[in-house]
């Protein structure tokens, strides 16, 4: 079908665009930037900030470029005196309703309102400051997310994120007129609502209204305390995004620089969550095989498909939305929590440390990890397994505070002993990665051969489609797995909770054709996590994912079960996967939660 072309004039230049193109997109094609605030690449059009207004000849009003389709013969001006005046007025209005304490704002220098206000040279004194008279609050109840009403510009990006991408609807609009604001159900505090702590709202907030709860000071305190042995673990997705907050382009891998900078910050041991990711694969892979055996051989009534449990946003989501189906979740803790539990037991023992003096810090691409670390059941080591969680963004702040020249710092390696990892662990950071890692191991355990994909790259499970599926046929299996001979293993992957609900709805009615399902709460998986650098969009996420797969290919060992430190851990401490010690330290239970 041929697309109808629309001819219009933008700033004096005649152009043709396909029918349905908005004026904003048309201008972009012409390399003209129209300022926006409520617009976001990942979200539907709202057209409510009105910053993107343009002048159209013959029109009575200035339409919003983001919401107006190009029409035949239109003559558009994107920067006329009328347009500039209107935009300035609108920005001045937003500023009058905004706490302009930019000097103390966490998002200062990375704030879209600040940038536009500077660009349009807004005079803060034109209009009356409105926030003085309003009873705005800062909600710091959540372990993960802070909500500051004084900085909200009501663009509703967070509302759209929560509804469209995540289908959680924890945030919505309440009241009208001057009292209109973004709030939770009945304006309850953030800690008491369905919020999954995924932090996608933070990634799309143009200002500092939504931020992660920060633990920077607590981490510095721990580092400064000579009594404490401070361990840091870094998640796979951090190393491909940290560069963005420290002057690199998206998609640059800064693993070595990050390890060096962490050592400079003063951590006693710079270790890798990837080690625990390999451990997770050992446990979860065997859990899958165990469930298959119980189902096929012992004819037990076990829950299949098995679903991954690495993403704490997803865990809280299923606890709220599908509390009757928690049996499908893998009982494995996430890599962060496995790491924490092992660090305060095995690591402490081998290093001759008192676990009460160990402080486990983790650097995560995620805000929900902050919540996860504080779940009351996460203390199997006898202490809180993970003490402090910071995001990629917070680490960026800390590195800047430390004065390290990140661009120039020579690369370093992770410390040994829980610092070793494989390519399988690194790809945990991208959607489909856990699945790929699990298949690399499970297939080999069952058949004794490598997965039948070129260079171990299981491409069908990769990519950015919201839901993907793949099949792997198990043939010529080892004798002990004979019950799996000829079984076609069916797997699915979803990222973003809206996609997860599509899969879950089938699981809930017992209609799911899969054996194993990977779900990540955030679009793109952890590389698009709520703790990652801002801004985010499909292109940036694609670049980070590419970097993840490059990192994998550069690794010498690319299968979790070949991680020498993991092998050693089982030999010296855990025994075998799903063994008694594993059960105690590495597995967990889930909680039924209300839907409000």
């Amino acid at each position: 079908m041929t697309v109808k072309m629309i001819n219009l004039t933008i700033d004096g230049k005649k152009i043709g665009v396909p029918e349905g193109t908005t004026l904003l997109e048309a201008a972009k094609l012409e390399k003209v930037k129209i300022p926006t605030l409520c617009y976001h690449d990942d979200l539907c059009i709202a057209g409510n900030c009105r910053v993107c207004v343009v002048e159209v000849e013959g029109w009575r009003v200035l339409p919003a470029a983001c919401a107006t389709p190009a029409m035949e013969g239109m003559v558009v001006y994107t920067n006329s005196p009328l347009v500039r005046r209107a935009r300035r007025d609108i920005l001045a209005l937003l500023v009058s309703e905004h706490s302009t304490q930019c000097t103390t704002c966490y998002r200062s220098t990375n704030c879209e309102l600040q940038e536009l206000a500077a660009e349009y040279n807004i005079d803060n004194e034109i209009y009356i400051n409105l926030i003085k008279d309003k009873h705005f609050t800062i909600d710091r109840t959540s372990w993960a997310i802070e909500k500051d009403e004084t900085k909200c510009i009501r663009c509703q990006r967070c509302v759209r994120t929560c509804a469209e991408l995540q289908k959680v609807n924890a945030l919505d609009v309440i009241h009208k007129g001057a009292n209109m604001k973004i709030a939770t159900f009945f304006d309850t505090v953030m800690s008491e609502v369905v919020c999954t702590n995924c932090g996608q709202c933070i990634n799309r907030c143009p200002t500092g209204a939504l931020t992660e709860r920060r633990y920077i000071d607590e981490i510095w305190d721990a580092l400064g305390d000579p009594e404490k042995h401070v361990i840091v673990q870094t998640a796979p997705a951090v190393r491909v995004a940290l560069g963005e907050v420290l002057g690199f382009e998206p998609g640059v891998r800064v693993t070595g620089k990050m390890a060096a900078a962490l050592k400079h910050l003063g951590f006693d041991s710079v270790l890798d969550t990837d080690f625990a990711a390999d451990l997770t694969i050992m446990e979860e892979g065997h859990e899958l095989l165990d469930r298959l055996k119980r189902k096929l051989v012992d004819k037990e009534d076990v829950s299949l498909p098995l679903m991954t449990s690495c993403s704490p946003g997803w865990i809280k989501f299923i606890e709220h939305m599908y509390p009757d189906h928690l049996g499908h979740l893998s009982t494995c803790k996430s890599p962060q929590q496995m790491f924490g539990a092992i660090a305060k037991t095995y690591y402490a023992e081998r290093k001759g440390l008192d676990p009460k003096n160990i402080v486990n810090v983790s650097v995560m691409p995620c805000s929900a990890k902050k919540y996860e670390a504080n779940r009351i059941e996460m203390n199997d080591s006898g202490f809180q397994d993970v003490d402090l969680v910071c995001t990629t963004r917070e680490l960026g702040h800390m590195i800047r505070q430390s004065g390290v020249d990140f661009k120039e710092i020579p690369e370093a390696k992770f410390d040994p002993f829980m610092g070793d990892s494989t390519g399988a662990a690194v790809i945990f950071g991208a959607t489909g990665g856990v699945m790929e890692a699990a298949l690399r191991t499970a297939y080999e355990v069952v058949t004794g051969r490598e997965v039948p994909f070129d260079g171990l790259n299981i491409t069908p499970v990769r990519g950015m489609d919201g839901i993907r599926e793949a099949k792997v046929k198990l043939e010529n299996v080892l004798p002990e797995w004979s019950f799996l001979e000829g079984v076609e293993l069916r797997v699915a992957i979803a990222h973003g909770l809206t996609n997860a609900t599509q899969i879950m709805d089938d699981v809930a009615i017992g209609n799911s054709p899969y054996h194993f399902i990977e779900i990540m709460a955030c679009p793109g998986g952890c590389i698009g996590g709520g703790g990652q650098p801002i801004p985010t969009n499909a292109e940036i996420r694609r670049k980070r994912a590419e970097a993840i797969y490059t990192e994998d290919e550069k690794m010498v060992i690319r299968k979790s079960h070949q991680n020498p430190e993991v092998i050693q851990l089982y030999k010296e401490f855990l025994g075998k996967p799903l063994g008694e010690k594993s059960h105690h330290l590495l597995h967990t239970k889930y909680v039924r939660r209300e839907r409000v």
């Binding site: 409510n48 009105r50 009003v61 609108i90 209005l93 209009y127 009501r154 009208k176 007129g177 001057a178």
Partner: protein, 393 residues
């Protein structure tokens, strides 16, 4: 020229004809004939915006698809308007008849009356009328059913896309336009939203014909209209008057001899000071010399005892609360205008700040997402321009 003496008309509330007879005759005509007749009559929407009714029906009729809707907008909320309540109370069958006509023309099977929440005392009566109406529909063999929908109480829901959002169970907030409701309305289907009074006039045009209707009124504003007269008058009430009257004639009839200003079109309308009465006519803009002001029917008369600052303050308080809060110019603009005139009155801001506020109201008119925010400037600018000294001292 637009000069005419006031002429009372009796179409809307007249009981000299049966709705059933009008429908019987009208439904024998083809769809195209009805549309043409409405276009010829020059009937424009009586809710205040003045969109040509025939054209609206034509656009909806041209849309493909088997599900279309007719919605009667009875969310009468403009301050100073109280005509739709009376129409629904006294001649609801004429309204339903108009909806049937529209349904026939655009090929809709379902219709809704979006009734203002405060008018719920009308429900029992309307339900009875709808029952009668449905019997007629069976007799006419017209597959059309009407339901009542009770609004949630927000002023902005009188704006048609907010009204539709509200009916869909969402917050009553205006949509981006285009697409317009005739293209994608209720549940994404082609929808005609007409004011209560407009629907009655479609029936009246079927009865008296386009010629006779057009003979009334003036160029660009044909026919008659209901006016809700209130304020400093000894004759407050509802009057059906030919379009095109001058304010001078209006005030002569309804004023108390001391009229200082008339607010035409409610809080979102224009304030006309005495010196402009002569040159101001009531009708829809276009084809007229002098001032021609549209109105949904609200005519508020103020005499010299009234402070225009208080009048404006009252309107702005209303808008500050009734803005849906979605778009920046309206949400923040209304607060700034209100706080701004208060600050000037208290002497905290210089009188020159009025100029900044005037410019702001102009920005709101140009950039607000819907008619609510765009029309705040109407009352603001017309009151400030004409009664500047009352704002300051």
């Amino acid at each position: 020229m637009a000069k005419r003496k006031l002429k009372r008309v009796d179409l809307i509330f007249s009981q000299d004809c049966s709705c059933k007879d009008i429908l019987t005759a009208a439904l024998k005509k083809s769809r195209e004939e009805i549309i043409q007749e409405l276009i010829d009559s020059g009937l424009k929407g009586r809710g205040g915006a003045g969109f040509p009714t025939g054209l609206k029906w034509k656009m909806a009729a041209a849309e493909k698809g088997n599900r279309k809707y007719v919605i009667c907008n009875a969310d009468e909320g403009e301050p100073g308007t109280f005509k739709d309540r009376e129409i629904l109370d006294r001649v609801a069958l004429k309204v339903l008849g108009g909806m049937a006509l529209c349904a026939y023309v655009i090929d809709a099977r379902e219709g809704y009356i979006y009734l203002r929440y405060e008018y719920r005392f009308l429900i029992p009566k309307l339900e009875k009328m709808i029952e009668t109406f449905h019997k007629w529909m069976d007799e006419f063999d017209l597959d059309f059913r009407v339901k009542l929908f009770i609004g949630g109480g927000a002023y902005v829901c009188g704006e048609e896309t907010s009204l539709i959002e509200s009916m869909e169970g969402k917050r009553g907030e205006p949509r981006n336009k285009p697409p317009y409701p005739t293209n994608q309305g209720y549940l994404g289907k082609p929808t005609v939203v007409n004011n209560v009074e407009t629907l009655v006039y479609t029936m009246m045009i079927m009865r008296i014909g386009a010629e006779e209707f057009k003979a009334m009124g003036i160029e660009g504003s044909s026919g008659s209209k209901l006016f809700s007269v209130s304020g400093d008058t000894h004759k407050a009430g509802i009057y059906e008057i030919e379009m095109g009257m001058t304010l001078e004639d209006f005030v002569k009839e309804f004023g108390d001899g001391d009229t200082k200003a008339v607010q035409v079109g409610g809080a979102s309308g224009f304030c006309v000071p005495r010196k402009r009465f002569k040159e101001t006519t009531i009708g829809f803009q276009g084809g007229l010399k002098g001032f021609s002001l549209p109105t949904g029917g609200s005519m508020m008369i103020f005499n010299s005892s009234r402070s225009m600052y208080n009048v404006l303050h009252n309107y702005l308080e209303f808008f500050e609360e009734e803005s849906c809060g979605q778009c920046t110019p309206c949400r923040v603009g209304c607060q700034q205008l209100l706080k701004g005139i208060e600050a000037i009155k208290r002497g905290e801001k210089s009188h020159r700040y009025l100029n900044d506020l005037m410019r702001l109201s102009e920005t709101m008119k140009l950039t607000a997402k819907c008619g609510l925010g765009q029309s705040v400037a109407n009352s603001f600018a017309s009151i400030v321009e004409n009664f500047r000294e009352e704002m300051i001292y």
